[in-house]
């Protein structure tokens, strides 16, 4: 237990974690600025709409639609989600390769045994990777709530939100939207934790730090750009796409679960259940 705490502390109090977090926070704050700008433009146009007596569709533009997970994408939110695998895998993939080089890995395995060490490292990677993206998202949501009203969505305008009665958590979106967004943040935390572990797996497989850090991003970007050949309208396979908004994530919930299970099994086998012999070879 103390080893797990130590590993979590190491994974969070590390410059790569800070760098990734700061990049995420900067992008998420730029998105707040964009959201506030969009809402201000809308508020100005409301007066004109009032004059010509049109339904201004007030509930279609609120904090729940304008925050980064609300589905209103812009250049910076797209950048953030494209960079997501890199941000998430940078801290631990890099530090693991450093541990291997500077002898920390050898020392730790000798002290507590390989299984305990691997398990603590896996959990620490999972938590720190999830936090790298969850922290900027929470900051974005809290900031948008300070400047844009939180109007509960109305299903009469479902076409504007893209959330329908047959979607996962559709009723929650129209009754307690903040809960819907918090569940999205939790899901993204879990999924990014697994992407971080994918980075860790590549760090185990490849000796090169650069290769270990870049591989998860390269793999997910490859799937993202090739999705038109293997995906379809009802079947989104790109992790980058379905993580980019709460609507996309819950719409594709089955694919999300399947991909999460595959990622978990793959990373758990590579990182935790690998044989002691392989670790000894790695240390050499």
């Amino acid at each position: 237990m103390s080893n797990l705490r130590k590993e979590i502390k190491r994974s969070i109090k590390n410059k790569f974690f800070y760098i990734s977090c700061i990049i995420g926070i900067i992008l998420s704050l730029i998105c707040v600025f964009e959201a506030v700008k969009d809402y201000s433009d809308y508020a100005v146009s409301l007066e004109e709409v009032e004059m010509i007596n049109l339904n201004p569709l007030v509930s279609t533009l609120s904090a729940y639609t304008l925050w980064i997970g609300g589905g209103e994408s812009n250049l910076y939110s797209t950048m953030m989600f494209l960079m997501l695998p890199l941000l998430v895998s940078l801290p631990y993939a890099w530090s693991y390769c450093s541990d291997r080089k500077n002898g920390y890995l050898k020392k730790a395995v000798n002290e507590i045994g390989s299984l305990k060490y691997n398990l603590s490292k896996y959990v620490a990677t999972f938590i720190s990777s999830g936090l790298v993206i969850a922290i900027p998202l929470i900051i974005n949501l809290l900031s948008v709530l300070m400047f844009v009203p939180a109007i509960t969505p109305d299903s009469v305008y479902d076409i504007y939100y893209g959330v329908f009665s047959y979607n996962f958590l559709g009723d929650v979106f129209y009754t307690v939207p903040i809960l819907y967004d918090l569940i999205y943040i939790l899901m993204i935390f879990l999924f990014c934790g697994l992407i971080g572990c994918l980075g860790y797996s590549f760090a185990v497989l490849f000796k090169s730090r650069i290769l270990a850090v870049i591989s998860p991003s390269a793999l997910l970007l490859l799937i993202h750009y090739k999705k038109q050949y293997i995906g379809s309208f009802d079947f989104e396979i790109s992790t980058i796409s379905f993580l980019s908004s709460a609507t996309n994530l819950f719409y594709n919930i089955k694919t999300v679960i399947i991909e999460a299970v595959i990622l978990f099994v793959f990373t758990f086998i590579i990182c935790v259940l690998r044989k002691e012999k392989n670790i000894s070879e790695e240390i050499k």
Binding site: I52, N53, N55
Partner: protein, 193 residues
């Protein structure tokens, strides 16, 4: 110890300031005003509308008289509607019997009711009129109409329910409502007890 107290006090102050700010931004906003009515209650539409004030429904009123749920087969038998295109994508039909009344509107054909805008809503579920089934349950097939001054008309509005969109049990035991205007007041008639 002092450092810990200062941090705790600052955190509490920060949370309070944040809560005040969020409260302020939400209180200064125009929310659509929602008015709910019951079955049998006469709902005056007044200056409210769906999309634009040109709908001119002031003077009209809507009263829901009752509802009925039928399976597709029951509907077909009852209304002799055996055309295969009827209710092609529905498993059930929810019939809402409505009385429209023009009490004071003197705009003649420049005002009136457009049934295509009427919405059935149940939390995340919404649906519009099933146009093909409409003519079978009414003795006319006009979806937009004006009423003479001081007259009324009863209409049955059919809504098709597809199991893939909402479970019919959930629909019935939920809170279905008929939306009769959206802005400036959203007026709905509760179709449940």
């Amino acid at each position: 110890m002092t450092k810990r107290i200062i941090i705790s006090v600052l955190s509490v102050v920060l949370v309070i300031v944040y809560a005040i700010r969020v409260y302020h931004i939400n209180s200064a906003t125009y929310y659509p005003i929602i008015q709910k009515y019951k079955v049998g209650e006469e709902v005056p539409i007044e200056d409210d509308f769906f999309n634009t004030s040109n709908e001119n429904m002031n003077g009209y009123s809507v009263t829901v008289l009752g509802t009925e749920l039928l399976t597709k087969d029951e509907f077909r038998k009852k209304y002799n509607a055996f055309d295969k295109n009827i209710l092609e994508f529905s498993d059930y039909v929810y019939l809402v019997r409505v009385r429209f009344r023009n009490a004071t509107n003197k705009l003649g054909e420049n005002a009136g009711i457009n049934l295509r805008q009427y919405i059935i809503q149940n939390l995340s579920y919404i649906n519009y009129i099933e146009c093909d089934a409409y003519s079978y349950v009414n003795d006319f097939d006009v979806l937009s109409f004006s009423l003479r001054y001081d007259s009324d008309k009863e209409v049955v509005i059919p809504f098709g329910i597809y199991n893939g969109h909402i479970d019919v049990e959930k629909f019935i035991t939920g809170h279905p409502e008929l939306v009769v205007s959206l802005y400036p007041h959203k007026k709905t008639i509760k179709l449940y007890d």
